[in-house]
């Protein structure tokens, strides 16, 4: 059992995405003790898988960098990666939490020299690239990963590759006998920031994501555009690695649909508008984007971005929910079928590549919470008294963009601080 110092004045933050990091740092910078638990080997969450952020189109590095700096500088946060919460019991001000810590097989000595990665032969689908590329069995999750430390994939333990990695390491950082651990701790409040996951596009049968190579999702498209991604930032389509210059974006793929997710995922209109700028950035006047939509929901000040994209003559807006996609076998082009509701013309439009703007759903399904929490009909955590001192931050509370996720994280940090203050009898 691992020793972790925590009391009922400690705040536990579950999930180290932009929301969890923000909540942890806001509380820690107010002098509170925080334990930040992340199930992956690195913090950053899904933001680190974006190529650029709307609305300013900066790279995620700039937002992350400052948070990592704050994290490194703050003694009040204890970060635990590769860790999951397995049980929670108790009430506001006094929760007992069980954790499971998975072995990384690499200790603090690691200098990220990469020798182990080079020594290992076996490759696995790269989670960071949504499986679009492969990575080695000894790997750094991505360039911005924090902590900057390699990981040995547990699937190579006991194979020759594991031994190769170990002997390649010049600083003796690899410990193949590292074991998983469990831990128990007491905390006063819990901030739940486990974020979202993309809706499973395979379920949208008429769009053929499971059958047509050149139908991909919006999260995969972010990876294609990213210079650190599987294609080195070139927009190459999966079937033949040709440049995809004529790209269709299908909005509400799985959202606002009683057959799939009932809610509007809120960010995907903006995400596609943003991604249309990637097409123009990469291909100039040869890049063409067509956005098929029911209505564009770029809310308040973000509508300026919408207007900017609308003024681009190479971006076409088609007011239509696409009925179905089939594949032109000779070219590999997906062909979109439907009716343009502005004028009721039927279309059968071929494109080089189709991007499904998939919806957001909570990453932790209702039944998987370690303690009973009240969620709304879409599975997002409610701000509800029955939840005691368990507060949702970011996309575990709703489908949000980064700006709103961070606001929500700050709010949940304030709520948690009030609880631990009460526990400390400090309330005036």
């Amino acid at each position: 059992m691992a020793e972790i110092v925590a009391t009922n004045q400690t705040i536990l933050v579950v999930g180290g995405g932009i929301s969890g990091m923000t909540a942890a740092l806001e509380a820690a910078e107010c002098g509170k003790q925080v334990i930040l638990v992340e199930k992956n080997p690195t913090v950053g969450g899904r933001v680190s898988q974006l190529y650029r952020y709307f609305p300013k189109l900066c790279h995620p590095t700039c937002g992350m960098e400052i948070n990592l700096k704050r994290l490194r500088a703050n003694k009040n946060v204890r970060l635990m990666t590769m860790t999951e919460v397995t049980g929670v019991s108790g009430d506001a001000g006094n929760y007992s939490v069980s954790l499971k810590i998975n072995p990384r097989f690499v200790n603090e000595n690691c200098t990220t020299c990469g020798a182990c990665g080079e020594a290992v032969d076996v490759q696995f689908d790269d989670e960071h690239n949504y499986g679009l590329g492969q990575r080695k069995g000894a790997y750094l999750p991505h360039a911005m990963a924090y902590p900057q430390r390699y990981v040995i994939d547990p699937r190579i333990i006991g194979t020759a590759d594991a031994d190769k990695a170990k002997s390649a390491c010049p600083v003796n950082a690899i410990d193949l006998n590292m074991k998983g651990e469990s831990a128990k701790l007491t905390v006063g409040a819990i901030i739940w920031a486990t974020g979202w996951r993309p809706f499973d596009a395979n379920k949208i049968q008429p769009y053929g994501y499971d059958r047509i190579a050149n139908v991909i999702t919006s999260v995969e498209f972010e990876r294609l555009a990213d210079p650190h991604g599987p294609t080195g930032g070139k927009i190459l389509r999966p079937s033949d690695n040709k440049e995809a210059k004529n790209i269709a974006f299908i909005q509400c793929a799985g959202s606002r649909d009683r057959n799939y997710l009932k809610h509007c995922s809120r960010i995907c209109c903006m995400a596609s508008l943003k991604q249309s700028t990637y097409v123009r950035e990469k291909f100039g006047d040869e890049g063409k984007a067509s956005i098929y939509y029911i209505d564009i929901r770029a809310i308040d000040r973000i509508d300026d971005f919408h207007q900017m994209v609308k003024n681009d003559p190479n971006v076409t807006f088609v007011k239509s929910k696409v009925a179905r996609i089939d594949e032109d076998k000779s070219t590999g082009n997906p062909v979109l079928h439907g009716v343009n509701t502005e004028g009721y013309q039927r279309y059968a439009n071929p494109h080089d590549l189709v991007v499904l703007a998939v919806g957001m759903e909570p990453s932790v399904p209702v039944g998987d919470f370690p303690i009973k929490v009240t969620v709304n009909e879409h599975g997002f955590i409610e701000q509800d008294e029955s939840n005691g001192a368990i507060f949702a931050a970011g996309c575990s509370s709703d489908a949000l963009d980064v700006n709103r996720a961070v606001q929500s994280a700050t709010a949940s940090a304030l709520r948690a601080i009030q609880v631990v203050n009460r526990a400390a009898g400090m309330e005036g």
């Binding site: 509400c252 649909d257 239509s320 929910k321 696409v322 009925a323 509701t341």
Partner: protein, 205 residues
Amino acid sequence: MSANTAVVERYRNSFLKEVEANVEEGQWVKMCMQCGVCSGSCPLGPAWDHPPQEIFMMIRAGKRDEVLTSSSMWMCTSCYNCIVRCPRELPITHIMHGLANYAHRLGIAPKNQPTRKFAKLFWDNLSKKGRVNELKLGIALYFMNGLVSGIKTALKMAPLGINMVKTKRMSPMEYFGGHGIKDTKGLHAILKKAREIEAAKMQKF
């Protein structure tokens, strides 16, 4: 009518309410969000003057005559593609049949629309004796488009008919009266009553 009321009449939009009250599943029409997926999904789509989503918009815009005299909803083959895909779960197929039936009852459905003609033949045939008389229905169908094409079709189909008679799947005696249920009078009374109940439910707009 004053000039003013005439203008009001012109813009009066009670058609949506009328559809909600008098058309089967009509209360769903207002739920449509005009995404167009039903229109794009219909295998007969190109044959429609106004695909379902346009019909729903026309209802809301009060285009009563254009909707009810349209042949569009008669094109529906009940394949259910649209229902399966509609993000708002509208029972589109049923609404189409509801609209068609309503237009028919008002006597303004297009007279020569083939689906309507067939539906009427089928219903008249069935309601007479409580059983479908296949021989009479078949013959009526052959002659649906006039005498000449009727004779041509009848000759073409004759070998099939003879085979059916030979294998006792059909009796030529059906032409004279034909089989039915025991209590045809009772059936007619039930249908009459049903019609009365439906007529009483019909609201005026």
